[in-house]
Amino acid sequence: CTKDIIEEEPRGVFTPEFFSTELGVQGGLTYLYQNLRNVYGFAYFLNLGETGTDEYCAAQSADNNFYDLDLAGQGNLRPESGFSIGTPWGNAFPAINTASGIIENAAAVGLDESLIAEAKFFRAFNYFLLVQTYGGVPLDLGSGELAFNSSAVRTSVRNTVPEVYTRAIFPDLEDAVANLPESPRLTGAVTKNAARLILAKAYLTYGWWLENPNGIPTYPEAPRTDPDGNGPSYYFQQAYNLAVQGINNPGPYRLLDYFYDVHVATNDRHEEMMLYADRTEESQIYNGADLGFSGTENPANTAVWMVTSNYTTISVDGVAAVQREAAQSYGRPWTRMAPPISVFTETFAEKDLDSRYDGTFVTSYRGNWDKGGDPSPTLTAANGLEIAPGDAVVSFLDDYDPAVDYSVNGGNIGGGQIPGRSDYVINLNEINRRFYPGLWKLGTYRTDNGGGLGSPNGAITRPFPIAKFSEFYLVAAEAAVKGATGSFTANDLINVIRARAGMWRFDNGEQQERIEDNSAAMVAATPAVIDIDYVLAERSREYFGEGMRWYDLVRTQKWTEYASSYEIAGNDAADHNPETTNRTIEPYHYLRPIPQGQIDDLNMSEAEKAAYQNPGY
């Protein structure tokens, strides 16, 4: 019996052998979905996808995680730049490896072809995210190309960008399109059409890469030629064809009637949403993050906190008039990222016909002191007028009003007043890094507030969007702009999206019903010739703040052109004098640095390690 003492019999833990059973393989698939949470909804991934673009810059409470990416001189983007730059790198490879494990073990355990296709979808999806973020990445994790790694390997060789696309992303996604079901196996599970959309986007992205209009360097160095001998236009056309196929064979998906409904939390998991990282309010365990008080650690969805300014300092009559509430316009304020002024004066210049400005931002902060337990029926606000709970306390003006008198420092947050209005007002071209419109579309939503403020410090329980049906139109339109042809022109495609954007059923800023059909006017305003700039502007209006912007600008090589400077006032709430901040965006920035942790963990020579890093870092 004494010999047995030093033999281990694991109990209470799973060892990797479990992975070769059917339950283990199925658990592996669940992990692939769960792994999306580590990226989508993760606060610092939103930072990676937005800060430094024309959509966001560093806000008053930013730290180096944000300054580094803002490229405006306060930080230094480098391989040690926090968790932001490492998010895709750190999360994609375990998913890729698990997917490879499922694919290898699938036959042995008799797994259905459609389930293998799910694994292939995720392997490709993760490679696609990697190749867009860092350039070429390794296809061999230690046990052979696209093989499940079971060795403690501490070396790595990066493949080139075309190798990653043509050997991993395209074949896997083509299989996924062929074998995935039309309708999802479970709520939010991937389908044939979801695979089409990602594949179409991958073709589109690869087409741009081959074309390389602005001579941006790639790494590891590779000639801009396709191993299969095709040119950029071939891939633009493939992207177009597949996107149109997706539009024509929607399966369970469709474009919703109103943009507002795409983002109003009561309508989450709707038919337009094709892929998302799900969360739940129903169970803290399955939500994976604390429902009462959460940190920003994975897999919590806390992204919107970063772009929410600290509205809770709004004070009227000595009363905290707008308090933290677990509701879509409020939530937990971190004030780390702010939208520059051009977002409101250019991208969302049209605020009346187009419902997307109203359906994206928090444009009026409304009194909720009653929910916080203050019994005051009214407070004296701007111009000595009374406001009641639910009334606007501070509003951002749709249209510039030169008469705003900021000397009153209204609401203690720099609000001004204009005659006749009881709320304090701020011109959108006079916002600062301290107080600016929040991002309503991704806002907090809870059903357990019980008439009070609820638990605004808990992680957000909404699914975080990754891909929507609308993107088929924008991908096809972009491909058409790049020369692809077919049954729809770029104008046709863009106008579907714009016509929908003209449909109103509710005014978010005014918090009241608004039935309007501005579709015709929206279509009429579409330029006759759609160029890439117009597609990118539409994309920003459609997907603002969802973490896509940096990827869009890098794909189209428009980052430097769009984002080299921005305008916003300073860190003080009362500062309404915008200043221009310049960014230094170098060509090498179009690839993010490989995280230092990867380099440190490599057992390779210093020269090999240096060669592993993207040039410039």
Binding site: T30, P94, Q323, G570
Partner: protein, 1009 residues
């Protein structure tokens, strides 16, 4: 000539047997020594004379005169060192010890009365660093013997209770039960415990009875009242108002946070006064001890209770100790040592909210009544503020109850092998069982600003079972001037642990606390699970102690361990240890040097190893995650740790050199030691590159080194048993720790804060130089150093290059962080005793010179030094235009997150201090006074604990205790902070927002009947 066999027992004046005493037939080379129980047997001529000698006692010569039994009582020679040291698997006279061992008697240990032996041990032994990681009652401090050596394996020493490795909670042992505590520090001493002793060994021997002793009853008790040593230095109303005004001044006239919510200018509430109460500490210990001709016993009962100054904090311990030792016939002996305890711990409220609460808020309503629930608003926060009154009012709305039951038993039998003189076999069976249960309940809206904050309750329970079976063969014999002691051991140990836990929200049945969790909806389960682990260790050990003529000493040990935690084929390891000693004072040539009583040189080398990694690390592991597909819940798996079929042992090699001395009739005695420990093949959760697709593998990688010097001195300055006497003891030590290499030649690992050439525990942060002032050289480039920076912001060292005009080539950034070594230059402790007639005065203290003290109270992770006026702030000397040489930055200046930029650097202080831990005045009643009473002895004493702190820059600034009060949680996150710190190694304890240190006033009584 007639030869007779003489046998008997050698005891001291109190009847305690003296093991290892020499019995010599005068004028011959024939001699023996007494066994563990003081028994001897010797052949001698019937007219011979026997000489009985034992160090520390006055030798006696007795003529045999044909007798066959000679029991001898030796009188203590107070001039001599009399210590017997427990060295593991036996005892040894201190004079003969060749390894590095510190021995502390229970009486000395209990000069600082405390809940656990670690607190009592603080400052007592050179090389033993005790740092407090919590100020809550029942919390056990962290012990490091000669520093840390392992990066991610356990650095805790092995504790051996009555010969059996102890696996219980460190507060399970009642310090009043301890007879002696012996600390084995170097590898030659710890080698007998093999892999479990790599971080040092603490041997605890509980009190026992003695043979032939009349039954006595001892009762020890004390009661202490605990008052706050120092409140946290928070601002009062006027200071906070001034701070907000200064924020506004630095911010274009606008305050960041103004008077709002429930704040009123007329209030000036000291929220700490509303919270703290007087705590108590009390103990009652009763024991009965005695012995017969063939046996002894000691049975004790103890009760200990401690509460802190924070309401709701308490720790209760009930303990039972039983010791039996009995001879059966001449050859067989058996015994039992049992320690059983039951603890109850509770902690229900933190103090962060109290410290951060604005003094402009009031706990009273307009009519002057105490608010029912202290939920108050400021401009940016809704706060619930804990107060004494609120804790009392809430009653069962918030309950925490941790129950621990442990029983630690050693049963032994010993058989003298009749046909080989000096040989015996001993069987030790150790049986330990510990169960823990933690119940937690918070009612809806309780202790929360939100009245509908969901209720929550949890129940966690665990059971740990260990057994140890040790077979020992012991041979002990003296051949003339040669003394040999051999121990051979085969042992097997097994530990099994399992646990179960459940936590829910929205408990419908609040009166049931955590006893009706099934009433909650299943989706309200916030945590659930069970766990299990088992580990085993097989060992063979042999040790020889040899000495010649009390002059030349040798200890040699070899041990083989086989561990379940390591890979097949690498489970077994064998390692040697050897040490030698030379008692120079016993050399004939020293006879003439009368003032040297003891002089011994020691040198030792030993290897030990460490297997303290999680069980099943060899096997690899799957990570488990949960997900929801809409309303469908699912569990997923992925490989997060690869198997490592090569996982082997971590090794430490130690060289130890020591000098022990006693001069001037031992009135000056002490020891000095130097050691160097190199730890190789460190067990490490080795990060694989992300591209491997798997997070980590546990592997043998990396090396560390520890070097240190330890000096202990004891002086008897005055020595008059009937008049005035004065003893002083001081110990001073250093330990220098360094990582000498990491995986694959990497020289830094920023994520883990490991840097080759620096200690394992470091601070990796910017170096604060002061504040930026207009008059500073380079101020004109402020914007190039710090875009958006302002005068009065923190200035940190810039490590980059300069342009020809003197401006920096880049902004200050993460590249400017540097490694800072928090290791003190030296630290130590002192104790002194003054006695005059029946009075005695004891003072015990500890000190540290240099090093960095980290206080999260002042740093950005504490959120109490935001300098924005959002919450109450630590009262700090901050920059204003008229106070430019302040330590703290201009309030409302450049921020990073919610804190001043570089706010983390504000938490570093000079770690020097000297602290008097306890002063005790005692009175022993005269035997003559007690003659006609039931009392055999009676002592009364009064103690003040933590009376004062000197030479501490941190104390000078803050008024606080410079000893740490916060550690890290099991997941590595730091305790008593608002946000985690990632710039300080997790091995560094901090001063955070935990229950304040108390100053205790104690009255005690020791009686013997």
């Amino acid at each position: 000539q007639n030869t007779v066999t003489v046998s008997g027992t050698v005891t001291d004046a109190s009847g305690t047997p003296i093991p290892g005493a020499s019995v010599i037939v005068q004028n011959t080379t024939n001699g023996t020594s007494t066994d563990f129980d003081g028994n001897y047997q010797i052949e001698a001529a019937s007219n011979a004379t026997l000489e009985f000698r034992y160090l520390g006692f006055i030798s006696q010569t007795i003529a045999v005169n044909g007798q066959s039994t000679l029991n001898v009582q030796l009188a203590e020679d107070t001039q001599q060192l009399d210590e017997v040291v427990v060295i593991g698997y036996g005892t040894q006279r201190k004079e003969s010890v060749t390894g590095s061992v510190v021995s502390i008697k229970g009486d000395n240990l209990n000069e600082v009365q405390s809940a656990n032996f670690q607190q009592a041990l603080q400052g007592r032994a050179a090389g033993v660093n005790i740092s407090s990681t919590s100020s809550r009652p029942g919390a056990a401090p962290q012990i490091r013997i000669r520093g840390t050596r392992s990066l991610s394996a356990d650095n805790n020493p092995l504790i051996v209770l009555n010969g059996i490795p102890f696996s219980g909670g460190l507060s399970d042992i009642n310090p009043n039960d301890i007879a002696s505590l012996d600390i084995l520090k170097d590898a030659s001493a710890t080698a007998i415990y093999g892999s479990r002793g790599a971080n040092g060994v603490i041997l605890i021997t509980t009190k026992s009875g003695t043979k032939g002793q009349k039954a006595t009853i001892t009762y020890n008790t004390y009661y202490a009242s605990k008052e706050v040593f120092a409140k946290f230095p928070m601002m009062n109303a006027a200071q906070l108002i001034q701070l907000r005004a200064d924020v506004a001044a630095n911010n274009g006239g606008t305050p960041l946070f103004g008077l709002a919510g429930d704040e009123y200018l007329g209030n000036d509430t000291d929220w700490q006064d509303e919270l703290y109460k007087t705590g108590l500490q009390t103990a009652h210990d009763v024991s009965i001890q005695g012995g017969t001709e063939n046996g002894s016993y000691n049975v004790g009962l103890g009760y200990f209770k401690e509460t802190s100054v924070v309401p709701g904090d308490s720790f209760d311990r009930y303990s039972l100790r039983a010791q039996i030792d009995q001879n059966v016939g001449k050859l067989f002996r058996f015994g039992l040592n049992s320690v059983t305890n039951f603890n109850k711990t509770s902690s229900i409220v933190g103090i962060y909210q109290t410290l951060g609460a604005s003094p402009l808020l009031s706990p009273y309503d307009a009519d002057g009544n105490y608010l029912e629930s202290v939920r108050l608003q400021t401009q940016a926060d809704d706060a619930w503020i804990p107060t004494r009154d609120e804790v009392n009012r809430i009653g069962k709305g918030r309950v925490n109850e941790q129950l621990d039951f442990g029983t630690y038993n050693n049963i032994y039998g010993e058989l003298q092998i009749p046909w080989v003189d000096g040989l015996k076999y001993r069987l030790n069976v150790g049986l330990n069982f510990r169960s823990a249960r933690d119940g937690n309940f918070t009612g809806q809206g309780v202790f929360n600003y939100n009245p509908i904050n969901p209720s929550s309750a949890s129940y966690n329970s665990s059971i740990q079972k260990d057994y140890v079976i040790e077979n020992q063969l012991i041979y002990d014999k003296t051949f003339g001037k040669h003394q040999v002691n051999f121990v051979g051991l085969f042992s097997s140990q097994n530990t099994e642990f399992d646990n179960v836990g459940l936590a829910v929200r929205n408990v419908p049945d609040e009166t049931s606390l955590w006893y009706n969790l099934d009433a909650a909806l299943s989706e309200d389960i916030t945590d659930y699970g069970t766990g299990y682990s088992a580990t085993g260790l097989l060992s063979y050990m042999a040790r020889v102690l040899y000495q010649f003529d009390n002059r030349y000493l040798l200890t040699a040990t070899v041990r083989s361990d086989g561990s379940s935690r390591l890979a097949p084929g690498r489970k077994w390891v064998t390692y040697p240890a050897v040490s030698v000693g030379w008692n120079i004072a016993n050399e004939p040539f020293m006879d003439k040097v009368g003032w040297v009583n003891q002089l011994k040189l020691r040198a030792g080398y030993g290897e030990t190893s460490n297997q303290a990694i999680a069980p099943y690390s060899v096997q690899g592991r799957l990570g488990q995650v949960n997900y929801n597909f809409g309303d469908t819940f699912a569990t997923g798996y992925f490989v997060n740790q690869l198997p490592n079929p090569d996982l082997g042992w971590e090794f430490s090699e130690t060289y130890n050199y020591g000098l022990d001395f006693g001069f001037f009739n031992n009135r000056l005695s002490g020891s000095a030691e130097y050691y160097i420990t190199k730890t190789n093949d460190i067990l490490l959760g080795l990060g694989l590159p992300s591209t491997a697709g798997v997070g980590s593998v546990t592997s043998n990688i990396g090396n560390t080194e520890n070097k240190g010097l330890e000096i202990a001195l004891n002086g008897i300055i005055f020595d008059n048993p009937d008049g005035f006497s004065w003893d002083v003891g001081v110990n001073v030590y250093t330990n220098r720790n360094e990582i000498t290499s990491l995986a694959s030649g990497q020289d830094r690992d920023e994520g883990n804060l490991w840097f080759v050439g620096s200690p394992i525990n470091v601070i990796f942060d910017y170096e604060r130089l002061g504040l930026w002032n207009e008059s500073d050289p380079g101020f004109e480039y402020l914007d190039q150093y710090e875009p958006g920076g302002n005068e009065g912001m923190i200035r940190v060292r810039y490590t980059g290059d300069f342009n020809p005009d003197g401006s920096p080539t880049r902004v200050i950034g993460a590249d400017d962080r540097i490694v800072q070594d928090p290791t003190p230059d030296f630290l130590g402790g002192f104790n002194t005793r003054l006695a005059y007639k029946n009075f005695d005065l004891n003072v015990v203290g500890a000190f540290q010179s240099g090093g960095i003290l980290v206080s999260t109270l002042y740093s950005s992770s504490g959120y109490l030094n935001l300098l924005t006026g959002r919450r109450n702030n630590v009262d700090v000397d901050y920059w204003t235009p008229s106070n430019t040489d302040a330590r703290y930055p201009a309030p409302g200046g450049i921020q990073s997150g919610d804190n001043p930029k570089y706010g983390s650097t504000l938490g570093y202080f000079d770690g020097s201090y000297l602290k008097v831990r306890a002063m005790t005045l005692g009175y022993n009643f005269d035997q003559s006074t007690l003659k006609d009473t039931w009392f055999k002895s009676l002592r009364l004493y009064a103690t003040v604990q933590n009376p004062f702190v000197l030479f501490s820059p941190f104390h000078d600034e803050s008024g606080l205790d410079p000893e740490t009060n916060s550690g890290v949680n099991a997941d590595g996150t730091r305790q008593n902070v608002a946000v985690n710190t990632n710039n300080i190694s997790t091995g560094i304890p901090t001063v955070g927002a935990n229950a304040p240190t108390s100053r205790n006033f104690m009255l005690g009584l020791n009686v013997t009947f």
